[in-house]
Amino acid sequence: MAEARKSMIKFKPKKFKVGDTIKVDFIVIHPMDTGLKKDKKTGEIKPAHFIDTITFSLDGKPFTTMKVWETVSTNPYFSVNLKVLGKGKVTVEYSDNTGEKNSKSKKLKPKG
């Protein structure tokens, strides 16, 4: 049974108010295979399999888009800032070179 890819969105700091600029951290479990390495067990070259596009959106509106390459580490981490203008929902949509698409969301809840 194929599971949805596992990922995490973190806001730093955890507590923030409207007007603050916070960090939005995103980690995802993904092999980020370069297509240049052999599988130790089979001896076959593992085909390139890496995340190539990421879009960070706030309530459906993109605020950061990324083009990512196989040179980024396995189980990658990405971090950008976000100015908090009010309550909302941050969504990270990502797709890889096989066409697989996934997304993760986290509610933005400023205090005061």
């Binding site: 990922s7 973190k10 951290d25 980690i27 479990i29 580490s73 189980n75 971090s79």
Partner: protein, 258 residues
């Protein structure tokens, strides 16, 4: 023969370079800060979270674990920080992964292999429940844990393998800090092996348990690998835990390692 002599000469030069290169390879404060910061976004956290979900699904979560271990849920974290332990109803000194296997057997369920991604995640989750607790293994608690500690110390000190090396050959107090293969040899108590493994290993890009790390080390030192979950491997964990305890270390799972 010539090739062997050449490689030997090369290695001797490299070795001299290395033993004098302690400073060159010692991590700068700035670098240390960067790697320390990476702990805040450790991919292993995702595996830990997953381990918790699996534990809940197949065993009934920490509530069931506490019940099986006959401790209150409140006391569970501190109790976890004292593993490996002698568990009377299992008749052995065991690790938490073995406890979970026993729970599966008690439920009539199939045992999850100790050497499986599933078990690694579950072990990491359970250990993380004890985060911030002092490592409190008590090797005087009963005759069984006492014997395990003695065996662990013996295993650590015994020279074996093709090159007659023991764990102590590289990890004794007077060797700490010397550079081997570009890495300064660590004080196993100071780096709290018992408190920071399972960890995300960057060179493996995966979650690794302490026993697997020991096996990796043994392979490099040309020592015959001790099986996961064996009496000797558990005893090694017991011994290593006392090193961290002596330095007043706390649980901090998952770790992040080279």
């Amino acid at each position: 023969m010539k090739k062997l002599l050449l490689s030997f000469a090369f290695c001797s030069t490299m070795l001299t370079l290395q033993l004098n290169a302690g400073e060159q390879f010692a991590m700068s404060d700035a670098d240390r800060a960067m790697y320390q910061e990476m702990l805040e976004n450790n991919p292993a956290e995702i595996y830990v979270e997953e381990g918790g979900e699996i534990l809940e699904e197949i065993l009934g979560g920490e509530e069931a674990l506490a019940k099986f271990l006959e401790v209150s849920e409140k006391d569970l974290p501190k109790y976890i920080a004292g593993f490996p332990r002698y568990i009377k109803k299992l008749g052995n000194v065991v690790g938490l992964d073995q406890v979970m296997q026993a729970m599966q057997v008690a439920l009539g369920k199939e045992k999850t292999k100790l050497k499986s991604e599933k078990m690694f995640s579950m072990l990491a989750y359970v250990k993380s429940l004890a985060n911030d607790e002092l490592i409190n293994i008590d090797v005087e608690a009963d005759e069984h844990i006492k014997a395990s500690y003695a065996l662990g110390e013996k295993t650590f000190m015994t020279a074996r393998g093709g090159r007659g090396l023991s764990c102590n050959a590289c990890h004794s107090d007077d060797i700490v800090g010397q550079v081997l293969r570009t890495q300064p040899l660590p004080d196993l108590g100071e780096v709290a092996v018992a408190g920071t493994w399972p960890a995300y290993r960057m060179t493996k890009s995966s979650l690794r348990t302490p026993q697997r790390r020991f096996q990796g080390c043994m392979k490099n030192a040309l020592l015959k690998v001790i099986p996961i979950g064996s009496k000797e491997m558990i005893s090694l964990e017991v011994y290593i835990a006392t090193l961290a305890k002596a330095k007043g270390k706390k649980m901090a799972i998952p770790g992040l390692k080279r």
